[in-house]
């Protein structure tokens, strides 16, 4: 076999949590690995969210180019309906497809937006929200699922998403359920490792990529048990037990990382990366409540969805904007709580309401919204609530611009907006929760990789070129990411300079084909539960 590279994704990993864990001896392998490799912060994309960020890592392109902005997308530019995104929505070539194009093999495990699975030479088990009952349909090639099913201890309900399993401990997340929930994620990472080990041993590939997503989930729900700034406050035995269980998760993950690197062997390049970082969120910004207060949004029933309603609404919750907004009186709304986006309503004849088709009116309204958002203050602290607002052409320039939110917010505390109605626009959280930050992690080790260096921040877009280079493949010259030569020994670059190449025109143009059906109300309700479980919804 030619050059081998292992890409280990650690969803949401941040050095602000990992460094203390390494110092405390919880992750001795990672500490040693970093000491003999190269490390850097990895700057995520806008928004720093799992689907767009991982898609950027696996394509070397920004969301405006690959078309993935969130877990969901609008059905069409002029539609209010949203639908699940699938692999068909990824509008440019992934590194697995590039590897395949050069006649190499790839194993791809647990990455989002890999269902329907790409027909590459290798193995794919999709991640994200792949329901466990349908996992067979997501496995590529045919016959892979049966091989996995024969593995000792294989449990698809733990490997893929089984909401019934997670709900037991997540609905309300009672105190005595935390430890069981963390234990589930320890088992899930082991399940993925077992699949990886089997494939690395029985059907090895030049590129092996695996994503562990428990770090993101733990940090969303257990931030206060992980953040060194909060740890000393623990008084109760329960808090200490949950903290210990969180540490056990990271200890186990460290063990799995060690085994993977051992399996890869000394000749392999190993790259570890996260899609985004993490930090505390201290306040809640009810963006739709603010839009209502400003006179830009109206609820059809006059009150809109409240936090207290979320358990009983039951249907149509995810797309409740479609059912609950008064479209004739609404000019702007936030549809999803995951990507901090505001959509401006433009109703072209014969539709009524919105801003109509006059571009000048749209631009003027959008500028006014930005100005007013930036002027909004937290009534308690006097701090600005919104630190930055991107217009879509500034954040998402590219062929999928029309599907992107008109405005994307960065909140001062790095948090996510709430899309619920509320009597107050800004409120303080009783305790900080974990939320995404742009600063993820990058760590690499292998032949030609510099040792023991801490480098300035890299872009998540740079990972794809590095992976291709590590495999001895040319880097397409139209990627937005660059080969981060500072990661490499100068001598290695001299021996093997980077080769760039114009990519071939794809045989089939990216379709953005809506193979994912628009969500029905019951599916939306289920997704809402998952979003809440992941910490995206109050």
């Amino acid at each position: 076999m030619k050059e081998q590279t292992v890409l280990i994704g650690i969803d949401g990993a941040t050095f602000s949590i990992l460094d203390p864990l390494m110092d405390e001896g919880v992750m001795p392998f990672l500490k040693e690995f970093i000491a003999s490799g190269a490390r850097a912060e990895l700057c995520s994309v806008i928004p720093p969210l799992t689907p767009p960020a991982w898609t950027s890592l696996m394509t070397g392109r920004s969301p405006g180019q690959h078309g993935v902005f969130d877990f969901f997308c609008k059905e069409a530019a002029d539609s209010h309906h949203i639908r699940f995104m699938t692999s068909r929505d990824v509008g440019c070539e992934t590194i697995w497809a590039m590897v395949d194009r050069y006649g190499r093999r790839a194993t791809v495990l647990n990455f989002p937006l890999t269902f329907p699975p790409p027909r590459i030479n290798g193995n794919v088990v999709p991640g994200g929200w792949m329901p466990w009952r349908q996992l067979r349909l997501g496995c590529h090639p045919a016959g892979l699922y049966d091989k996995l099913k024969a593995l000792p201890g294989f449990n698809p309900r733990e490997l893929a998403m089984d909401m019934a399993h997670e709900e037991k401990v997540l609905e309300g997340c009672k105190q005595d359920e935390y430890e069981g929930w963390i234990a589930l994620h320890i088992r899930r990472e082991r399940q993925w490792f077992n699949v990886l080990r089997y494939l690395m041993q029985e059907d090895p590939a030049e590129l092996t990529a695996i994503l562990f997503d428990g770090v993101d989930k733990l940090q969303h729900l257990c931030w206060r048990f992980l953040d060194p700034a909060c740890v000393e406050e623990f008084k109760s035995p329960w808090e200490q037990r949950v903290r210990a269980q969180c540490l056990e998760y990271f200890r186990q993950l460290d063990g799995l990382l060690a085994k993977i690197v051992h399996l890869a062997g000394p000749e392999a390049t190993v790259v570890m990366a996260s899609d985004h970082g993490f930090g505390p969120q201290v306040r809640t910004f009810f963006v739709n409540a603010w839009l209502e207060q400003q006179g830009y949004l109206a609820w059809a029933d006059g009150k809109g969805p409240r936090a207290s309603d979320t358990e009983v609404l039951g249907v149509g919750q995810l797309a409740r904007h479609v059912y609950l907004l008064d479209w004739e009186r609404t000019r702007a709304y936030a549809a999803m709580p995951s990507s901090n986006g505001i959509h401006i309503v433009r109703a072209f004849p014969p539709l009524q309401g919105g801003l109509g088709e006059v571009d000048a009116e749209y631009e003027s309204f959008r500028n006014r919204l930005i100005e007013e958002l930036c002027a909004l203050k937290d009534p308690l602290s006097g701090e600005a609530v919104v630190s930055r607002v991107w217009k879509r052409e500034d954040a998402f320039a590219g062929p999928y611009l029309e599907l992107a939110p008109d405005l994307t917010l960065e909140l001062q505390d790095g948090g996510l907006v709430s899309i619920l109605a509320s009597d107050t626009v800004v409120s303080r959280r009783s305790e900080p929760s974990g939320t995404h930050r742009p600063e993820g992690i990058f760590v690499a080790q292998g032949l030609g990789i510099r040792q023991g260096v801490r480098l300035p921040a890299l872009s998540i877009l740079d990972v794809a070129p590095l992976v291709l280079y590590s495999l001895g493949l040319p880097v397409p010259d139209d990627l937005e990411g660059r080969l981060p030569t500072e990661v490499l020994e100068p001598a290695a670059l001299q021996v093997r300079p980077v080769e760039t190449v114009s990519p071939p025109k794809p045989a089939v143009e990216p379709s953005h084909m809506p193979v994912g059906p628009v969500l029905d109300e019951e599916a939306e309700a289920e997704i809402l539960r998952r979003l809440r479980a992941l910490g995206y919804i109050e």
């Binding site: 699938t86 269902f115 009952r133 349909l137 997501g138 099913k149 193979v515 029905d520 289920e526």
Partner: protein
């Protein structure tokens, strides 16, 4: 792509039978079997199933309309037979050979 109703039924039954084994559903699957009540599927399962059907036939079908109609029913469920009818109708509408 033209398929007879019997061929679509066979395709769907084969797919469901294969999947049912994975989640240890051992009941008989017939056109009268309900996906939610009998087989225990959840909404997201149906969404993925619809995606897979479209992939299999390489054709986009108006599943949103089907799901919207399902949402209006007193009992929100769909039988295998109805699912097959829907696929058969739209598969052959596209090829202009609906019977």
């Amino acid at each position: 792509m033209h398929k007879t109703r019997e061929e679509v039924m066979a395709d769907v039954l084969r797919l469901l039978g294969q999947l049912a084994d994975d989640w240890e559903y051992y009941g008989e699957i017939t056109p009268q079997t309900y996906l939610f009540a009998d087989m225990g599927l959840e909404s997201l399962d149906i969404v993925v199933l619809a995606t897979s059907i479209q992939e299999h036939y390489r054709q986009v079908m108006p599943f949103p309309e089907l799901f919207a109609e399902l949402g209006q029913r007193e009992i929100r469920d769909i039988s295998v037979g109805e699912w097959v009818d829907f696929v058969y109708k739209h598969l052959n509408e596209a090829s202009g050979k609906a019977e």
